[in-house]
């Protein structure tokens, strides 16, 4: 989803209200392409952004903070998490009444020695950081008492998680290659068709070709265990798409050439000629028919859930444009949900929300296909950094000339206020 927003650089306010000229904020995306050329280059040069040609580059450079600034920000964030304004240890107060006011039996109970575990735990002076380091190191706290590997250590957890992910990637790959093949076939078909038939005919042909990958995957799935979930996904799209046979041509959301026609696949499949179609498609391209059982499998067109148990649910399937559905999709099977529920907890660090835009760009295409575009995916979700006046909290329009990295809003009052405390201003 592209981010559309009103840029804060040009104030909506109609009164210019400053006593000096702005230094344009190279950091925010500039609405006027010619604007960078008008800049006094000296000031920009001082900020380390020399090039005017590629705005994108200079923007990136302008937003790159120095290591020192990064550290300062991290320090500030840590400070925000602090409990007190100074480090202090408050000992637990001794209770005077422990011996005095107790009933007899209560006292006896108190006299009972606490177990060794309790004494050890009470005596711990370990901080949160110690525990965190332990978890990251994968210490199995239950020792040889042996717990299901996933439930305990962070490393085993993340290991399992990443393993699952890798598996997902592997699963995705054959699907992709099939898709590519399907796409290639579309092109061929179209070349053939365009001479004689009209647009409509071409699209009909297209949808036949597209049906191939779906069918093949369904059939191969029954034999290989790892791709079992894929079948569930395929069926899901098949059934839920029934309602969707209309208005597929106007779909601008998907870049893939063959994707818009997917919903028609199931329509044609329902008519019962699907087996025929697959046959037709397989003859020109025998490489797809890897499975001898394929024909019978595709004819059966089972809509019911396979009996075997699912190993794990693969989220990559949701992003596959071929399996994409546009209305409410079908409820995943009970087994899928059970598998999801049975997964072990993530480790503390793994559960921390990741920064946006961390993933590669290729992801952003595929994330659109799923119901929700993955937050971790596209960098287009990234909002531009907002800057604020360090004094009054309004937009930080003017960068400090000393290069301390802070900004003020443009009021003289705030500028003076900052100058008074600027760390670099006092040289």
């Amino acid at each position: 989803m592209p981010l559309i927003e009103e840029l804060p650089v040009t104030s909506t306010h109609n009164r210019p209200s400053h006593g000096w000229t702005y230094v344009p904020d190279t950091g925010a995306p500039n609405p006027i392409p010619s604007a960078p050329l008008l800049l006094g280059s000296r000031k920009r040069g001082r900020d380390g952004t020399t090039t005017h040609a590629s705005t994108a580059q200079s923007q990136a450079a302008a937003h790159k903070l120095s290591a020192k600034q990064e550290k300062a920000i991290q320090q500030r964030l840590n400070d925000l998490g602090k409990e007190n304004y100074r480090d202090v240890h408050i000992p637990v107060p001794k209770r005077d009444g422990v011996a005095a006011g107790k009933g007899r039996e209560r006292e006896k109970e108190k006299d009972r020695k606490p177990s060794q575990n309790v004494r050890r735990i009470l005596a711990y002076s370990r901080t949160f950081q110690h525990y965190l380091a332990d978890e990251e190191a994968g210490v199995n706290v239950y020792g040889s008492a042996g717990i299901v590997s996933g439930v305990v250590g962070g490393v085993s957890n993340t290991g399992a998680a990443s393993g699952g992910h890798a598996q997902g990637q592997q699963q995705q790959k054959p699907a992709d290659s099939k898709r590519v093949r399907g796409g290639a076939m579309v092109d061929k078909e179209q070349e053939k068709m365009t001479t004689a038939a009209g647009r409509r005919n071409g699209s009909l042909k297209q949808k036949q070709t597209v049906s191939t990958p779906t069918m093949t995957t369904t059939s191969t799935n029954t034999t290989t265990r790892t791709t079992k979930t894929r079948k569930g996904g395929a069926i899901e799209s098949d059934t839920s798409v029934k309602t969707e046979s209309r208005a597929v041509m106007g779909d601008t959301d998907v870049d893939m050439a063959d994707a818009p026609d997917i919903p028609l696949v199931s329509v044609s499949a329902e008519t019962g000629t699907s087996a025929q179609q697959t046959q037709i498609q397989q003859s020109p391209l025998p490489s797809t028919s890897t499975d001898p059982n394929q024909l019978s499998q595709s004819q059966s067109q089972s809509n019911q859930i396979p009996e075997d148990s699912v190993v794990s649910y693969d989220p990559a399937l949701d992003r596959d444009p071929l399996l994409r559905t546009r209305d409410l999709p079908k409820m995943p099977s009970e087994r899928v949900m059970q598998a999801l529920l049975a997964e072990p907890p993530l480790s503390y660090t793994a559960a921390r929300a990741k920064p946006l835009g961390g993933a590669v760009d290729g992801m952003s295409v595929s994330t659109r296909a799923g119901g929700v575009s993955g937050g971790g995916g596209s960098s287009s979700l990234l909002r531009p950094q907002r800057w604020f006046c360090t004094i009054c909290g309004y937009w930080g329009k003017v960068r400090c000339k000393n290069g301390c990295g802070e900004r003020v809003c443009g009021l003289l009052e705030c500028w003076r206020g900052h100058e008074g405390v600027c760390s670099l201003g006092a040289y």
Partner: protein, 486 residues
């Protein structure tokens, strides 16, 4: 997937029938006995008590524990020690003292909270999602070996909310049918925005979907500290006055539905003459506009955001309060006070964009330099790893709990932000309970009184613990009975 109907669960062997629900939060403990019968929520909530989960040392070097802190009047320079860090009990030494005083010592415990016979009591103890195993083990061992509860279940706090009566919240059409019938909620996404962090927990039939749990490392504590920082720069140095700033936050902060508009409203540069004499001097041509109707309008709307906050003086005024901004009277009073030199003149400050730019960091952490995404983006991140229909259902059942949910506009803002991220065919409903702080406890109480079978399945008895050990118990808390239990 609901296990154990009411009929079959009435008489479960093993767990003691009295259940003590303990939502052990970083800031406050929400505790109380679950009602033995199914009672209306208001009645159940009357049994829930909130105990500050902290040790406080005041300026005169006296230390107060837990509920004792309510008698403190002079909060200036108070220091805190909290046993719970990042939602997890780290210091059992301090936690034990607070628990002992609040629940186990007959002299100090409230009548409602006194656990006289732990052996005959089942404890439901909450922890945040993704608690570290070492800390889980500590909790299990000390709870079972020090106090010796007859039954014990350690549950992920947000998951208890699935047992609340949420259908009236989410459905426009009220169905007066037996509401317990379809509990726990099939799909529920809980946003728990608490003291030390904000967690997103999707629940399916009351069980968490672990792969989708995400955490934002900002909570109420960070808001307070940030506000403290800002006020110290702009108004008074309050960096030693945690409690006072926390009160300010609770009194005046709100989540803006239009950040840019509100920011424009509160900018001094937009306030004409009243913004300060110096500024106007530099406007030059702007003076022309000062008296036209639009700027008057501007001025009036500005007043809606800004408030005057009167700080406590610790003698006459123990807790600060806010009142609508009044530039003229404020200025006059200030002058009067300065002239007369009265000692008891009130100390006031005007809060403008502090009110909404502080909570804003939960939605845009990058404003203070954090690289984490905001709440709405994290919800999207969390849902991205779930099947599509589950995503859609989760989005139509989003419940916000935790103290930050009380910030006005918080829930509405999450809903608005999610709406922009989700396709129009999907419904987005974000709600909160009447009291978002106790809603987790209430869910626990309802679980205990209505679904004892579930408690049994995920809980252990004292005998089982002693026989099988903490590793076995930990497995059972996560996976349930799994055929191994009785």
């Amino acid at each position: 997937m609901r296990r154990g109907t009411k009929a079959s669960a009435r008489n479960v062997p093993g767990l003691p029938s009295t259940t003590f629900v303990l939502d052990n939060g970083g800031y406050t403990i929400k505790a109380g006995f679950a009602p033995p019968e199914t009672v209306p929520d208001t009645e159940a909530l009357s049994k829930c008590h909130i105990v500050p989960n902290t040790l406080v040392r005041t300026r005169d070097r006296k230390t107060y524990v837990g509920a004792q802190t309510e008698v403190i009047t002079d909060w200036s320079e108070a220091l805190f020690r909290r046993p719970v860090e990042n939602g997890q009990v780290v210091s059992w030494e301090a936690q034990k003292e607070i628990w002992d005083q609040s629940f186990f010592d007959e002299r100090t415990a409230q009548k409602d909270l006194s656990v006289k016979n732990p052996v005959d009591t089942t404890l439901i103890f909450t922890e945040p999602p993704n608690t570290m195993p070492a800390l889980q083990k500590n909790a299990d061992e000390i709870i079972m070996e020090e106090w010796g509860f007859g039954g014990y279940s350690r549950v992920i706090g947000p998951s208890l909310n699935a047992y609340n009566d949420l259908h009236p919240l989410f459905e426009e059409v009220q169905t007066p049918a037996d509401q317990d019938a379809d509990l726990p909620m099939e799909c529920l996404l809980v946003i728990d925005s608490g003291y030390s962090h904000t967690t997103i927990t999707p629940l399916f039939n009351g069980r968490p979907l672990h792969r989708a749990i995400r955490r934002l490392d900002f909570g109420g504590k960070h808001l307070t500290n940030l506000l403290k920082e800002v006020i110290s720069v702009r108004h008074f140095d309050l960096h030693q006055d945690n409690k006072i700033v926390n009160d300010i936050k609770e009194d005046v902060c709100f989540v803006s539905d239009d950040f840019k508009r509100d920011l424009e409203k509160t900018w001094k540069g937009n306030q004409g003459k009243k913004g300060g004499g110096k500024v106007v001097g530099h406007h030059g041509d702007t003076n022309v506009n000062l008296n036209n109707p639009t700027s008057q309008d501007d001025f009036r709307t500005t007043d809606e955001v800004r408030v005057d906050y009167i700080l406590p003086d610790g003698v006459h005024l123990l807790r600060g309060f806010s009142r609508p901004y009044d530039a003229i009277s404020a200025a006059r009073k200030r002058k009067q006070a300065a002239l007369s030199g009265q000692a008891d003149a009130e100390i006031a400050m005007t809060l403008g964009n502090e009110r909404f730019s502080i909570p804003e960091i939960l939605f845009s952490p990058s404003d203070i330099g954090s690289k984490q995404p905001g709440i709405a983006d994290i919800v999207m991140q969390s849902l991205a790893v779930l099947p599509p229909l589950v995503q859609a259902t989760m989005l139509s059942n989003v419940l916000v709990v935790g103290g930050n949910a009380k910030i006005p506009g918080f829930v509405e803002r999450i809903q608005a932000e999610l709406r922009t991220r989700v396709k129009t065919e999907w419904m987005v409903r974000v709600r909160k309970m009447h009291d978002p702080i106790t809603s987790t406890w209430l869910g626990g109480a309802r679980l205990a009184s209505r679904f004892p079978g579930t408690v049994r399945e995920y809980g252990v008895t004292r005998q089982e613990y002693l026989e099988h050990g903490s590793a076995w118990a930990a497995r059972r808390f996560v996976n349930g009975g799994g055929g191994k239990g009785p």
